[in-house]
Amino acid sequence: EDAERISSADVAVVEARRGMLQEWVDWHEGMEEELAEERAALGLPENPVEALLREKTAAVVADGEAKEQVVE
């Protein structure tokens, strides 16, 4: 009887966690979608940091080429 009570308590805990996980995943996926839509509507890149880093790399490369030309 005790074992039964414990296992039914475990089931309740696991059920509650399953619910919490699903609720989180639903909220987060909804938020992600909304963010992607807002970004697209504003014409912004999907990942702002990646876009900035690409620009920086391009600038550094261009700078390097310019300097090389001066050396020649």
Partner: protein, 342 residues
């Protein structure tokens, strides 16, 4: 794995920040120094000198080019990360307690302290992520906090909102462009100051730490409290770990605030909670005073804590950390894997 102990500061740490690549750690302290360290071995790369008072806050732009700092000397300064050169100083009537770049590094916010004759404010500065560029003297925006001063603030996704945590335990959401107050909601216990506010990677939600001994996970869009993490000590800092669904809380009662018998040496701990299930899952000991700041490596490899004891402790996560999973998480992972294979 044993933590790396960074012993370069002479006084209490105030804030720690990783750069976006997670290879550099920036730390500031009441000793008026900014230090930069290699995250993987704790080697100190250098210091940035110039502030004339305790430094309260620091931030790195998204491309790891410039650094912003705020100090009790009433200035915000910009630094060239590579050369250590001070690029710009903005003067304010009071100390600067928090700085943060927005997601594309075009704007920097600063939280200024309240003092006799001066209300606390949140200022916004236009910045150029370019060490050669002339930075503007003018403030783009000033938000005056006439109800309760802001203690911390940050930028949401798309720089749409400025979110502030206040001394009275409430949270405000301001329009990121106009500075208009949209909501102010009591979130933490009344008059228990909010001590930290850190973002999720996409800046859609954030975590607050408070002297009321709790940390909370809050949605940036509507300030809904998503999760609550109760602890047994006043909290100074809280951070969200990427890759794994954990949060790390830091705090502790200062020795002078408790009876000497209760002051347990070396027992100041970083607390790990499961972000979704809200359970405490572990503690990491080490500091000899309260933890003033915790920061998660943005690449998910570890975390760093800064203490009232003047030390920074850098921890690399081990296998057990990555393997740790609740049964229902494993179940979901297996289900997704099966769906992907089908």
């Amino acid at each position: 794995m044993r933590p790396i102990l960074l012993a370069g500061h002479e006084r209490a740490l105030t804030q720690i920040k990783y750069n976006p690549d997670g290879d550099l750690i920036f730390s500031v302290s009441k000793d008026q120094q900014i230090c930069v360290w290699f995250a993987h071995n704790g080697e100190r790369l250098g210091t940035y000198r110039g502030h004339q008072g305790a430094i309260w806050t620091i931030d790195v732009d998204p491309t790891s080019t410039i650094l912003a700092s705020g100090s009790a000397d009433n200035t915000i300064r910009l630094w060239d990360i590579k050369t250590g050169k001070c690029l710009k100083a903005w003067d304010f009537p009071t100390a600067v307690k928090r700085v943060e770049f927005n997601e594309d590094g075009t704007q920097l916010l600063g939280v200024t302290e309240k003092r006799m004759g001066h209300l606390g404010t949140i200022v916004v500065l236009d910045v150029k992520i370019d060490v050669e560029a002339e930075q503007s003297d003018e403030k783009a925006l000033t938000i005056v906090c006439d109800e309760s001063k802001a203690t911390v603030a940050g930028w949401s996704y798309l720089s749409k909102y400025i979110i502030a945590g206040h001394e009275d335990g409430s949270i405000s959401q301001y329009d990121g462009k106009t500075g208009d107050l949209i909501y102010n909601i009591p979130i933490h216990e009344l008059n228990q100051p909010i001590t930290d506010l850190q973002w999720s990677q996409d800046r859609s939600y954030f975590i607050t730490a408070s002297k009321d001994k709790t940390a909370k996970l809050i949605s940036a869009k509507d300030l809904e409290v998503l999760k609550n993490y109760p602890s047994d000590t006043p909290l100074n800092s809280a951070t969200i770990t990427p890759k794994k669904d954990f949060v790390i809380l830091g705090g502790g009662q200062a020795a002078m605030d408790v009876t000497t018998t209760a002051a347990r040496q070396g027992k100041f701990e970083a607390r790990f909670y499961h972000k979704i299930f809200e359970d405490e899952i572990g503690r990491v000991r080490g500091h000899f005073g309260p933890l003033n700041t915790v920061a998660a490596d943005p690449t998910g490899k570890g975390y760093a804590s800064g203490g009232e004891d003047g030390y920074v402790r850098v921890h690399a996560f081990d296998k057990g950390y990555y393997d740790f999973m609740y049964e229902v998480e494993r179940e979901r992972q297996n289900r997704l894997a099966a769906a992907a294979n089908a």
